[in-house]
Amino acid sequence: MKLLRTFTKGLWEELPPFRLVLGLCPVLAVTKSAETGLGMGLAVIFVLTCSNVLVSCLRNVIPRKVRIASYIVIIASFVVMVELASQAFFYKIYESLGIFIPLIVVNCIILGRAEAFASRNGIIPSALDGLGIGLGFTMSLTVLGAIREILGAGTLFGTQVMWSSFRPFTFMVEAPGAFISLGVLLALMNAFSKTQQS
């Protein structure tokens, strides 16, 4: 039961970009379309789960004073692996994500989970925590990407969903559109959870 909660808390209570408001840089930058959002999310799931497991394995070996340096080395290795793998097997997504795959290294969600959870818990809870948080991150990115893609380009996962004479509101796929749509989504989620509480 407790393990299940470790997994599900990432899906709503600690939903990374909206609840923890962490890792906003990729959230703003790669959600130009649902596809890139999903691709980024999957990369983060992999890195987060693997680094959580490894950090949890080594938690009794790593001296406290150099823990952050060790975590960064571990995370960076997984990120480079993701980069090479995506380049080798999913070239299209690799191209559209560009610089943001290497930047996963400095995504504070990953270091945050390593420091706050994996360094204090066993291997199985750490893996579940990484999976849950990563899945929540992926969901958020995909939803935000879908909203921006539909309004800003009239498509969803590359297929036309709006009527053919639709002149896309390209503001949404620009940088300012990212800030505004993230803010509006955040406000809606806060309003929703407020009504749920009362």
């Binding site: 509101f169 390209t170 503001f171 620009e174 505004i180 803010g183």
Partner: protein
Amino acid sequence: MKALDLTVSPAPHCHCGARITRVSYNILLALIPAMAMGFYYYGFDALRVVAASMGSAMLAEAAIQSILRKPITIADGSAAVSGLLLALILPASVPLYLVVVANFVGIVVGKQCFGGLGANPLNPALVGWAVIRITRAWAGYLDFDLALVNYETGFILQYPLAVLKAQGSAGVAHFSLMDLFLGKQVGGIGSSAIIWLLLGGLYLVVRGVIRWEIPLSFLIGVAVIAGIFWLGDRTSYGSPIFNILAGNVMIGAFFLSTDNASSPVNQWGMLVFGFCCGAMTVVLRSWSIYPDGVVFACLLMNLFVPLLDKIKKKQPLPPALSPVTPPVMSKSAEERSAS
């Protein structure tokens, strides 16, 4: 220095009559001549845009306020002013959904998200305009040369600033400055009626609705910086007078930059604010990809307002003169200042 001897009587107090409604309706009144010129030149199309813009601005305000369960304040006219200002800087042929989107983004994101009237750091009309301007799929609708090609107006159907940008000052030689001044130029529905905007603006200054500092320093800023550019290279930049009479400068100086919530509160702040708006306008006209820079200049300077408000600190009242002090103390203060 002798301190003023002010006394504040206990309640009841008398209200001088200044309220938001009066400010808004005075601005609307001052804009009527410019709007009428738009109707005269562009007919029903202009009427359509103005009605849709004011309507959607008020609707957006009412909608967001009812969702947020706040008192609905569309009757104070501030949303109507934003809507009208936005309409006046748009071309008459713009599709209505564009106007509606601009107003909703302007009012909801630019104004109500920050806490409504008085708390908005940016002018909502300008936010709305900027959003549709940087939407590249729609940029063609806002290009005056393309948008107004089908109208019979009796004057040259070329946007002076676009011509200046493309051909340099030789290209604009055939625009008579008098025509520009009288509003016989391509531009927004109301923003091209220079003389009527000037008169409306002066009316507002005289009535005390807006302060004279911002418009004056705005125009000076345009003139000075345009003069520097012009003296440096007369073939590619317009003269200061041309820069003042073409495009959005007049509406910007009197109406867009003077929005109460998004302009500084003290005199030096206002002067610097206006001058920088004017200067940025000319810089953007000269170096950016946009033919006119008034809106972006005003938005940029709006962001500096909190900083400009710090230029001159408010002088706190001397303790002896604060309203709660009993009269005995005030007398002793007088003696002290006299000695």
